[in-house]
């Protein structure tokens, strides 16, 4: 039995906008064990980042609010911590690599300043030790000549190096949980391969548990042990990676996998027309009753438009929210 590290239970995060109430995260539950990598996939706007920001309590309020749920980290509900206690957790026990590196690296401070600030705050190191720690962190993520780079500003680094600097910053306090929100989406494939390789190595060495948010199922197949599939603010399927790809249960997951062109398959035989999922994602402001995927589902039944299917076990460790299983 593995050790449970982070447990998100029934999380609901909403945005109160001029256009109405957006149920961005609507009853999401998933958990993370020590040293494990969980992959979170889903369409743009389905609530992947908002879930991650909720874990760190970084939801802008207003317009956002966590209205329900629990986020249990090592036995403590983070949603009940004081702001001061939460600050101690953030960047120390749980740290995050944000979707846009330029928004989270401060352009007016050197890379070194930004890393030393975190380690001084959390680990009480003096200036010199903190700088040494920063250089060490940059070296760990494979930045050449870290002694020099540590004094440079974010704009002086290439996209790939900036992403590494972000990882260095996120890892500088040896967090137990690393939340990586699309850490490689903006990067080229050869640089992406470097970063994924780096994350795997660091996980082996430091035992960090990782929540990997991405829309790229190729990245998920490569790095995750468990996969959470989200659709319109909900988890629709969750399973070990082999089962998600080998025997997907939810029609959305099935459709997603079939719609992907694959260089390895295409090249080996006659090309086939891609399977498409018709239609588009419903607006969060105006969600239909019942299953949110019903309007695009090839196996839709009358019941699907009326009642929302619960997330239920369909095999050991494999959960799916679909009325077809009844």
């Amino acid at each position: 039995m593995q050790e449970l590290l982070l447990d998100i239970r029934g999380l609901r995060t909403q945005f109160f906008t001029d256009d109405g109430l957006a149920r961005a995260v609507d009853g999401v539950s998933y958990s993370l064990e020590k040293g494990e990598t969980v992959g979170v996939v889903g369409e743009s706007g389905c609530g992947k980042s908002v879930t991650a920001l909720s874990i760190l309590r970084l939801i802008p309020d207003p317009p956002g609010k966590i209205v329900d749920g629990e986020i249990i980290f090592e036995g403590t509900d983070l949603l009940h911590l004081s702001s001061a206690d939460m600050r101690r957790i953030r960047g120390n026990d749980i740290s995050m690599i944000f979707q846009e590196p330029m928004t989270s690296l401060n352009p007016v401070f050197t890379i070194g300043n930004q890393i030393t600030e975190a380690v001084r705050l959390h680990q009480g190191l003096n200036k010199r030790d903190a700088l040494a720690k920063a250089v060490e962190a940059l070296k760990l993520v494979g930045i050449p000549v870290p002694e020099r780079r540590v004094h440079e500003y974010p704009h002086q680094l290439s996209g790939g190096m900036r992403q590494r600097a972000m990882i260095a910053m996120a890892l500088s306090c040896n967090p137990k949980v690393l939340i990586a929100d699309e850490p490689t989406t903006a990067l080229d494939v050869t640089i992406e391969a470097q970063i994924l390789d780096l994350m795997r190595t660091l996980q082996d060495e430091l035992g960090t548990a990782i929540i990997m948010i991405t829309h790229d199922l190729g990245v998920i197949a490569d790095i995750a042990r468990k996969v959470v599939v989200m659709y319109a603010g909900k988890v629709v399927e969750q399973a070990p990676v082999e089962q998600i790809f080998g025997s997907p249960n939810h029609p959305y997951t099935q459709g997603l996998l079939q719609s992907l062109p694959r260089v390895d398959k295409d090249a080996s035989g006659a090309k086939q027309r891609l399977q498409e999922i018709p239609g588009i994602v419903p607006s969060l402001l105006n969600l239909p009753a019942g299953c949110k995927f019903a309007s695009r589902c090839p196996s839709v039944m009358p019941q699907c438009h009326e009642q929302e299917p619960p997330l239920e076990p369909v095999a050991p460790n494999h959960y799916s929210a679909c009325w077809l299983n009844h």
Partner: protein
């Protein structure tokens, strides 16, 4: 069956001047496209892949002369595009269209979908009034939208739908060639397949040719008949798509293919992890541009640029050591 060449690009170069100093003189150049040659046949899709900044968009835009090439020749149906004056170029644009990456930025937000799609018909005096309306309606239906959508504005549509609007506009004049510059990169996975299928259907119906630019190799391989791989302003390899995948010759192509994430956890690949970053096109490395990251590098690679040579069956490569002796 001899294929008929539609587009021929010979030794295309585009250098962007870098201005600086008090009198804003030219202090250097961005060698964005540096001696690129290829052809596109009638009804064919040529894929163009490579890392960010390697010159894919610049190549695509130069062909339509949306930017003026620094040097080189472009022939469209045998006609020298680079020699055309403004008017002749405008009428040639009926035959060559472009679809952009960003479905949000590329459509005028203040125009209705009807005027966006109908505008080329008016500019080229092909249809007006009710005839134009009819043409627009049928174009919208062709790309999977509804005739009523004509009265709406771009912001009322999703990303995939906006890309369809861009496609409807691009096919309005029955072009022979469409440059597709990352047409699905900004779209969700579940929407990408819709747009790719649409492009394939239109190609079949109208015998269109595509220059399909993308950085996603899974997508490029799927849609292309042949693929050209670019690195730092140059094409390093060009081959029929299955040959390129099954028998990559250039070390860069090899690394690129090995790095493509395959959505299948049972496939374990031996990854070639390239060291370092892509060098700057302002000051490209001497000799073979790839030598700074190449695992097979030898002395000659630093000194001499390799020739882009034909190694048989339409397979071209620029490497001193390929094909293997």
């Amino acid at each position: 069956m001899a294929a008929e060449t539609l587009l021929e690009v010979n030794n295309l170069k585009k250098y962007f001047p870098i201005k600086g100093g008090v009198f804003s003189q030219t202090i250097g150049y961005v060698y964005a496209v540096d001696d690129v040659s290829f052809t596109v046949d009638k009804g064919e899709t040529l894929g163009l892949v490579g890392e960010s900044g390697c010159g894919k968009s610049t190549t695509g835009r130069s062909i339509l002369r949306l930017i003026e090439p620094t040097d080189g020749k472009i022939y469209f149906e045998g006609q020298d595009v680079t020699a055309l004056d403004k008017n002749a170029m405008r009428s040639l644009r009926r035959e060559m269209q472009i679809i952009f990456q960003d479905p949000y930025a590329s459509l005028n937000p203040r125009m209705t979908v009807g005027s966006i799609v109908g505008e080329p018909l008016e500019i080229h005096k092909i249809a007006r009034g009710s005839e134009k309306t009819e043409r627009v309606a049928s174009l919208l239906q062709k790309v999977g939208l509804r005739a009523e959508d004509m009265r709406k504005y771009p912001h009322e549509f999703s990303g995939g739908q906006r890309q369809r609007i861009g496609i409807a506009r691009a096919i309005a004049l029955n072009p022979k060639l469409i440059v597709c510059d990352e047409p699905v990169s900004a779209l969700d996975v579940s929407i990408q397949a819709q747009v790719i299928n649409l492009l394939e259907d239109l190609q079949e119906e109208f015998g269109l040719s595509y220059l399909f630019i993308a950085h996603n190799l899974n997508v490029v391989e799927h849609i292309s008949d042949r693929v050209a791989v670019m690195y730092l302003g140059q094409i390093v390899e060009l081959a029929p798509d299955t040959d390129l995948y099954n028998d990559p010759q250039h070390p860069y192509t090899e690394a690129l293919l090995s790095a493509v994430p395959i959505p299948d956890p049972t496939v374990t690949k031996k990854r070639i992890i390239l060291e370092g970053d892509v060098p700057s096109p302002i000051d490209p490395p001497s000799g073979c541009h790839f030598h700074t990251r190449c695992m097979y590098k030898e002395k000659i690679c630093e000194e001499e640029a390799p020739e882009f040579k034909h190694i048989g069956s339409g397979h071209w490569v620029a490497c001193h050591f390929r094909p293997k002796a």
